[in-house]
């Protein structure tokens, strides 16, 4: 399983000389499964560059949306493959009692916010509510679970062979809870992230900033680290950077996070901050060969 970060910023794009290294595009992660199937996790502005990197040939891909806040869907109408008739796109997302996924996304992909309507997209696009139980895409098993954020929001777990990716970009599991004391089954998102090979998790605020943002749906550094420790993720990438955080501030935050992680007994190399275009390869061990007569 190959993972590439195309957008690491939260809330709103933050382009400029101050954010070149960590990136200014909003949430999007590209995943290539062992069998070649392609997934995009969220469709923030980062998906525009992901689309430009895809070959101009018949393509089938799945877009897994955690929720429909603008920083997670804004790139949809600038996703080049959506404008190719030979492309098939399946968009997965959270159900809502209010309206279908298609109708809710159409509120953005329609006038006056968009020059095109969903029905005008040349690609073959379909919309599916994530099932409560695990399902398969290509060689992977996908699991979606509701997590603590504002509005219906999912986190995802992708198991491909022996490797697993947990993606919970918008998450405030410590809201009204002590993550260090709480039982595992009472921690939001726990089963998605448990023992994951790679955890991509909300780390929007510094510990000093968090008290001014309680209930906004995002984590402080310490909360993200506590969540990573409790879930025993092998490697954690702090994601969804605050748009006000410059590269220099994020460098300092990364150093602070590593220091805290070591204090918690972890390996400093297992914690990092998400940087746009970073790539991770999660080894997928093939099933052991069995002797045949």
């Amino acid at each position: 399983m190959k993972v590439k970060l195309w957008g690491t910023r939260g809330s709103i794009p933050a382009p400029g000389p101050e954010t070149i290294r960590y990136g200014g595009n909003t949430s999007c992660v590209g995943v290539t499964l062992a069998d070649g199937s392609m997934l995009a996790l969220d469709a923030g502005t980062g998906i525009r560059c992901l689309g430009l990197a895809l070959p101009d040939e018949p393509t089938r891909l799945h877009i897994l949306l955690t929720h429909l806040h603008l920083d997670h869907i804004q790139g949809l109408v600038f996703f080049a493959p959506a404008f190719r008739p030979q492309t098939e796109i399946v968009i997965w997302g959270p159900a809502s009692p209010e309206a279908s996924l298609r109708d809710r996304i159409a509120r953005y992909i329609s006038a006056p916010l968009s020059p095109v309507e969903v029905r005008e997209l040349p690609c073959d696009v379909s919309f599916r509510h994530c099932p409560e139980s695990e399902w398969e895409i290509g060689s992977a098993r996908i699991r979606a679970g509701s997590v603590s954020h504002r509005g219906p929001t999912l986190g995802y777990r992708i198991d491909d062979g022996d490797s697993s990716l947990a993606y919970i970009p918008d998450h405030e599991p410590a809201l009204g809870a002590d993550l260090d004391e709480l039982e595992e089954d009472w921690i939001s998102g726990f089963e998605l992230a448990r023992d994951a090979s790679l955890l991509i998790h909300d780390g929007q605020y510094t510990d000093a900033e968090y008290p001014g943002h309680v209930g906004w749906g995002h984590s402080a550094t310490s909360h993200a680290l506590s969540f990573a420790r409790r879930t025993a993720a092998e490697r954690t990438v702090l994601f969804h950077h605050d748009p006000l955080h410059s590269d220099d501030q994020l460098d300092a935050l990364a150093a602070e996070a590593r220091e805290k992680w070591v204090e918690l007994g972890g390996d400093a190399g297992a914690i990092e901050l998400a940087a746009e275009r970073s790539e991770y390869e999660l080894p997928v061990r093939a099933p052991q060969a069995t002797a045949t007569a």
């Binding site: 809502s96 997590v147 603590s148 198991d159 809201l175 009204g176 809870a177 089954d185 921690i187 939001s188």
Partner: protein, 140 residues
């Protein structure tokens, strides 16, 4: 891999909220299992949730002996939490509970179901001091 049986998010958020309240509050899951009550409820009952742990529906229904106005035990099926879980409707009642030291408290109980896109996930009950019978003050 095997997953832990994680609580539904709605129950997690309900517990988090209840933990911050000074009003006694109880939480049951969709099967009627008492999965949490807060510190205020623990003070009323004389036993913290951590001491009691999760208990089944029949057990918690009788554990603190809810009585009606005439002192008769309230049938399990008539308890507000049970009605809220089973019928998916709010329920309210005045009743008397007995704490572990024998003190009795007159309370009003409001229970309401936790409905989610995936169906009912349990119910919450909040205890209020009774205005009719002595403001909920304990009596031996």
């Amino acid at each position: 891999m095997s997953f832990v049986t994680q609580r539904p998010l709605e129950l997690i958020l309900a517990r988090n909220l209840m933990s911050a309240l000074s009003t006694p509050a109880f939480l049951v899951d969709e099967g009627g299992l008492l999965v949490f009550y807060n510190e205020a409820a623990g003070m009323l009952l004389g036993k913290r949730f951590e001491e009691l742990g999760t208990v089944g529906p029949q057990e918690w229904g009788s554990l603190f002996g809810p009585f009606d106005e005439s002192g008769e035990p309230i049938p399990y099926d008539d308890l507000p939490l049970v009605r809220a879980v089973r019928a998916g409707r709010p329920a309210h009642a005045e009743l008397t509970i007995r704490s572990t030291d024998g003190t009795q408290h007159d309370v009003e109980v409001s229970a309401f179901p936790i409905q989610t896109p995936h169906g009912s996930q349990g119910a919450i009950a909040v205890f209020w001091p009774s205005l009719v019978n002595g403001n909920g003050a304990g009596r031996a």
